[in-house]
Symmetry: C2
Subunit: 225 residues, 2 copies
């Protein structure tokens, strides 16, 4: 999993070659190449295998064949690693959501919201470990890691923009924007996390169908029309 150490070293050597020095090999065993990258990947692997709380600086370092103290060259502390994983995750999420909406170019607002919700849930369920880190208790409780807030805000803005477009087109109820966005976000997150936590059981090959129908209930309401 995490033992891409050799590959890293090779890549690092190549980069060096291109830059300045001719072909001097890395001197000691203690140069890793891109420890930061490797730590992030390794953190995700560990969390995938053993859950979000099992990530340990020492365990990751062990897997990478590196002294645990080396991690502190790249991250201020354990929480900073977690925050970096979350940040990457939110960036990936924003990409996924944007792509999904781009594919529904001409569709009306209700359809676009349903697609948005489905894309969100599918992302979460494709990478449950990462999603749990993104939304877990470490998720910037304290307001440290302002960089983390940037992709989160982008994701939320995307939701709001979509709703506003629907309001403008006369398709979506003209209530307070923040409120509607919160309703939509809550539903997307709620569905994703309930399925991940197995509080709601959905067969993996049915997730797409399930979330589509669920989002439809949200957009069209539970009340009989």
């Amino acid at each position: 999993m995490c033992d891409n150490r050799r590959a890293m070293k090779v890549r690092a050597a190549k980069v060096k070659q291109q830059k300045t020095e001719p072909q001097k090999k890395p001197r000691g065993d203690y140069h890793h190449g891109n420890l930061r990258r490797a730590l992030l990947d390794c953190a995700l692997s560990i969390i995938d295998e053993k859950g979000p709380e099992a990530f340990t600086v020492r365990e990751a370092a062990r897997r990478l064949g590196v002294d645990h103290r080396a991690a502190y060259r790249h991250f201020q502390d354990r929480d900073a690693v977690i925050a970096a994983v979350a940040e990457e995750g939110y960036r990936a999420l924003v990409d996924v959501l944007e792509e999904a909406l781009a594919r529904e170019d001409g569709a009306d607002a209700p359809t676009r919201l349903i697609v948005l919700g489905r894309a969100y849930a599918m992302f979460a369920l494709r990478e449950p470990a990462r999603y749990r880190v993104m939304t877990g208790p470490r998720s910037n409780e304290s307001g440290r890691f302002p960089e983390l807030e940037i992709p989160i805000a982008r994701a939320f803005d995307l939701v709001k923009r979509e709703i506003q477009a629907g309001v403008d087109a006369g398709d979506i109820v003209d209530a307070r924007l923040d409120e509607c966005a919160a309703v939509l976000w809550a539903e997307m997150h709620g569905l994703a996390i309930l399925i991940i936590m197995r509080r709601v059981r959905v067969r993996p090959d049915r997730v797409r169908e399930f979330t589509t129908r669920a989002m439809t209930h949200l957009v069209y309401g539970l009340k009989r029309r």
Copy 2:
């Protein structure tokens, strides 16, 4: 907070008196009275103060003036303490939801669902620490703690029953019950946790109003009617 040690000891002494022995005082300092109860309360205090991950068997024992090893008389391990806190929490939640619905006796289904959602969110926000334990990563990931599943199932059944009643009355769309219940549950949980995590900012005195409106959007749909 946790230092109800003296009170506990007194209570224990009284119980003893009533049962068999006349008025023999507790002999050593090492009899706590009801350590199990005290540990659960203490766990909640710690989590309230420092977040769910800060709960530590040793810290709790320290606060209670007891050797940490004493905890293992009452709980198999750390996770078992957490599970017990969660179990109590879900029982309290079920009570709150039932009371809220009982107060809306004659109301129609949409109203009852809105009230249900509001009561849920209000519970979560009144005791955020407890709610986070209930829904956190430790929440019976592994299927240990089957007792925990009982009040959870009761809460979910309550939601399903309410929806079914609405379907029977012709007020709620007649879609698959599990699906509708999941939509409702996801919204309730999503709203609660987003507010607790401050991803959605709502002034405490506005929570009631906010969740009412949010649940209304869910029940009546976001689509313009």
